[in-house]
Point group: C2
Chain length 149, copies 2
């Protein structure tokens, strides 16, 4: 077992799960703030140079886990590790955000899909992308194709 503690909290326009855009074609353009606790703020040094960040956070309002689940973007069940379901054995979320600005220990970002007050576990620089022509997106691509028929 490993113990994790928050390094900060998300300030988000979303207060309830139903507020977060979900399902096929959902866009995550919302702006929010990653508010890092003062004792960790030095760790943000030089982060301004990166346009995009990985944010690791906890699904602190979901209980338990399900190995199979039907995501909002499909009407068929899939394994939890093939989805972004909040009901995971380790309830850690991962979001890519665009860094707009840093004000001290507060990072203004675009692309939040977390709820207000979500505990942040880690921030990492986004260094490279998989080339689009090399990417296959499994059941999600199939669900998109079915929805366009």
């Amino acid at each position: 077992m490993f113990s994790m503690r928050p390094i900060g909290y998300v300030r988000s326009p979303y207060h309830e799960t139903r507020d977060v855009p979900r399902g096929l074609g959902a866009k995550h353009e919302a702006e929010g703030i990653l508010e890092i606790l003062p004792e960790f703020a030095q760790g943000l040094t030089d982060i301004e140079g990166f346009s995009h960040l990985f944010v690791l956070w906890t699904f602190d309002r979901s209980e338990g886990f399900e190995l199979m689940g039907t995501p909002p973007s499909d009407n068929r069940p899939h394994g939890v590790f093939a989805t972004r379901s909040p009901f995971r054995p380790n309830p850690v979320g991962l979001t890519v955000v665009e860094l707009l600005r840093r004000d001290g220990n507060r990072l203004r970002v675009r692309g939040v899909d977390m709820l207000e007050g979500t505990p942040i576990l880690d921030i990492k620089p986004y260094l490279s992308s998989v080339e689009p022509e090399k990417l296959r997106r499994g059941w999600l691509a199939e669900a998109e194709a079915r929805s366009q028929k």
Copy 2:
């Protein structure tokens, strides 16, 4: 505080930290296996459709954290959240791997940079990339430019 437990372990050709390619231009082409514990194997259902996965894992052989550190790819110190340093407040690693094949509860992948036996916390599908022309890579791009002079 949050408690996390392994969902499986990495089988890697790297047994010591010094074996892992590091520094500017390091390539992560090594193949390895994500061996998921039998009780979580159902959660892999439909994962075969995805070409790339996010793997969340723990730096189980690093102790403590440093808010500032000098990465192997530069000779200047940067904040921990602007690097992939293993000495993080929450010692969670994130690696993008290419999924080559699934054999039951074993995922054969390319791109491992973890050590043999590393505990896996979560696997998620890689769904989209930031477009290269929108990506800025801060101190890393600067260090690359300096090294080419």
